[in-house]
């Protein structure tokens, strides 16, 4: 088994290269300017907080920086009582 395991082991340098390329593409774009995705996150949360009292534990924000697109996922739990108050 161990004799042949080296055949399955993928070399790590290509992974290092890909990770660096994606990371640096983002870092070069954000140095000196505000991070757009970060800015969006702040403003979206501020708008929602105007209408609904946000519970920090019920808000989940995830960010994924991809090679060509980044995704920002904002998942907020809004309690029924809050929507009744708004209506």
């Amino acid at each position: 088994m161990s004799l042949f395991s080296f055949l399955n082991k993928r070399s790590s340098a290509p992974t290092a290269r890909e990770r660096l390329q994606v990371l640096l593409a983002h870092e070069r774009a954000t140095v000196g300017h505000a991070d757009l995705v970060g800015l969006l996150r702040e403003e979206i949360l501020a708008v929602i907080a105007k209408h609904v009292q946000l519970d920090g534990d019920k808000v989940s924000v995830t960010m994924e920086r991809g090679e060509h697109v980044s995704t920002l996922e904002v998942d907020i739990e809004i309690p029924v009582t809050a929507s009744m108050r708004a209506a």
């Binding site: 070399s11 290269r17 660096l20 390329q21 640096l24 870092e27």
Partner: protein, 271 residues
Amino acid sequence: MAKVIVVTSGKGGVGKTTSTAALGAALAQRGEKTVVVDFDVGLRNLDLVMGAERRVVYDLINVVQGDAKLNQALIRDKRLETLHLLPASQTRDKDNLTAEGVEMVIDELRKSFDWIICDSPAGIERGATLAMRHADTAVVVTNPEVSSVRDSDRIIGLLDAKTKKAENGERMEKHLLLTRYDPNRAERGDMLKVDDVLEILSIPLLGIIPESMDVLRASNLGAPVTLNDAACAPALAYRDAARRLAGEQVPMTIPGERRGFMNKLFGRRAA
């Protein structure tokens, strides 16, 4: 005309001080008057690598603050009379280094030296930005490893923004010095290759220094690796890099590379 070089990297431990000493000695061996300047105030080590740690009387801070004349602080190398060292202070901190003071020292060094090589501290703070501020050319020392490449990219950004040249709208010349390279590990796919790093950082290559015991041996003995054993692989690589800095065309080789049977058969394209 004097040329000011900054040896920088962002990340610590990649070989800035070793490279400063080795390139400085190689340039001095060409008969050109060279001074290596330690900017790592509080954590000086260039004196130790150069083997001059017991001869330090005055330092860069003393000169900046007017407590000593530049000539009093300069230490002439015992092996090479064209090689000089301006040590950093070990007891003061970086706040004692002022932009005006550094400018004055560099301007004065320009009058009497052909090469002024500034050994930058790690990081991107005041010490590092002052070391690069007056440079004509930057040598970016990088290991074939992800954190070093990332930090080098950051430093390249600073070289294009925070230097005198950049502020005057001129182009800062930048060269990549790839250190601790192991051609066999790169060939097996366990280490970033020269071409990978070059493609990511996109600055021209000054040299490839192989990972070698000779580097540690030279620093143990307090001698630049180019002086300690002129025939060892890293010494040859540093000497070639110094020749390229001086404007010579030298073919790029990877010292110590063992060529595989297939590579020998089909040849290998130049890096």
